[in-house]
């Protein structure tokens, strides 16, 4: 069964029609990468999936339960949206760590004060998680004392501390200096090996090709091409995709 299912999603900002009936499903354990030119609506799609934007119409369901549905053209959201929020995590391009909390507090606070879990149990889990990510000695540091790469890794473990079933990433390495992207990509790769379900919006083509089970190429608010990474990257039939990859090669 799909963890996430989005169907016929429409989203406009004023008269800017950004998502034009897009559909997306993500199965358990799957790693899906979303690529596409700037302005194609990738971030908007993730923000709709995580309820940071409200859709105009369509269906969003998690674990087979509708979080948003459209009946007779009228879109309504479920009353218990916060229950759905526990299913996913989102890693932002610019981290959005809480600057007044230590690394450990950043991770522990939501599980304790939102999920009402036992504090000591959460602490032990978080410390183990930090340890695994090589951040153990940063547990009591504040975000401002960390490098960009470390901050992004902390924001990943903060999301993981909520034990989400699915993790979204919106260009997790775009705000980083090139020499710091590697450490973040390595963490995501490690999660992929552990069969964490993930949706990754990225401009790192080589990474997307290496780590994904499925690649989605978006342009102009629709899915232009979708499939196995080798197929999409190596053997695309789409003229727009070819153009996009040519431009990308030229830039890098």
């Amino acid at each position: 069964m799909s963890i996430l299912e989005m169907k016929n999603i429409e989203k406009s900002f004023a008269d800017n029609h950004v998502l034009k009936g897009i559909s997306l499903h993500v199965d358990k354990g799957e790693v899906v990468s979303i690529i596409g030119p700037s302005g194609s609506g990738k971030s908007t799609l993730l923000r709709c999936a995580t309820f940071l934007e409200t859709i105009d119409s369509g269906v969003i369901s998690y674990d087979g339960k509708n979080a948003a549905e459209t009946v007779n053209g009228k879109c309504t959201y479920a009353k218990n949206l916060n229950d759905f929020r526990h299913i996913f995590g989102l890693v932002f391009q610019n981290f959005n760590l809480f600057p007044h909390y230590t690394v450990l507090k950043n991770m522990m606070d939501a599980p304790v004060s939102v999920l009402h879990r036992d504090k000591e149990e959460v602490r032990a889990e978080c410390i183990a998680l930090l340890d695994k990510m090589g951040l153990a000695e940063k547990a009591n540091a504040y975000p401002c004392e960390l490098s960009g790469g470390q901050q992004q890794r902390v924001s990943i473990v903060r999301a993981l501390a909520m034990q989400p079933e699915i993790l979204f990433f919106d260009e997790p390495t775009s705000a980083l200096d090139p020499e710091l992207t590697g450490e973040v990509l390595k963490v995501i790769k490690q999660l992929a090996e552990e069969k964490m379900t993930m949706v990754i919006v990225t401009h790192e083509m080589a990474f997307a090709r290496a780590v994904s089970d499925r690649v989605i190429f978006m342009d102009g608010g629709v899915v232009v091409e979708e499939g196995d990474p080798e197929e999409v990257f190596g053997n695309t039939q789409s003229e727009r995709m070819k153009q996009f990859l040519r431009n990308y090669d030229r830039e890098t």
Binding site: F51, F98, P99, D109, S113, C144
Partner: protein, 216 residues
């Protein structure tokens, strides 16, 4: 009257000066937050009310507000002027400073990056949790210098209580100055206010330092 006598007499009013100062802070700091939140309300009449409140209280002299709160009830409803003037004085100061604090809070809240709200929302924090745990501590950190400015002004503004003859330090000083035709009480008052503000500056500096364990 010797300098020593003047100082002793004026010091007797210092307790009342401090009462105005601390009580105003105690009431105006939370009241300002309420006004700031009302101002940000999406319900138009509420935000309009808060905006008008702020604009009127900042746009008219505190001295007039003091007179209005102290004597207004008498002229309007024939309620006798309360014998303990501390009550109307603190009310006038509190509603006035709440307006200034509200503007400072609002600017601090508006300066918070939207990402802090979004991260909180995705992690499942309720709106109230987000505000209290994530936003408010950072807002206080940001607005502390502006708040310090207002608090320093408040120290000096306590002297306005003389307009309703509340027997705080400056009122006593002014009475001595009148009866003795002497300028000395004003000098003493100046020294008192200055020392008071040096202490305020020191305390606020300590608080700022304690809060600056992180960068935003």
């Amino acid at each position: 009257m010797s300098l020593m006598t003047i100082i002793v007499k004026m010091s007797e009013g210092l307790g009342k000066t401090c009462a105005i100062f601390f009580l105003t802070l105690i009431f105006a700091i939370p009241l300002g937050m309420i006004v700031a939140l009302l101002r940000g309300s999406r319900f138009k009449p509420v935000s309009w009310f808060a905006k008008t409140y702020i604009s009127v209280l900042r746009g008219t002299p505190l001295m007039l507000q003091l007179l209005a709160v102290t004597y207004g009830p008498y002229y309007l409803f024939n309620i006798s002027v309360s014998r303990n003037k501390l009550i109307p004085v603190v009310i006038a100061f509190s509603i006035n400073y709440a307006a200034y604090f509200a503007e400072i809070y609002r600017s601090g809240i508006d300066s918070m990056p939207v990402g802090q709200y979004e991260a909180s929302q995705v992690l499942g924090y309720s709106k109230i949790q987000t505000f209290i745990k994530i936003i408010l501590p950072q807002v206080f950190r940001r607005i502390l210098p502006a708040l310090t400015n207002e608090i320093v002004t408040l120290v000096k503004d306590t002297s306005l209580a003389f307009t309703v003859s509340y027997q705080e330090m400056f009122t006593i000083g002014k009475q001595i100055a009148n009866s003795q035709t002497s300028f000395v009480p004003f000098v003493v008052a100046g020294v008192f206010y200055y020392v008071f503000n040096v202490i305020v500056g020191f305390v606020m500096g300590r608080i700022e330092k304690r809060m600056s364990y992180y960068k935003m």
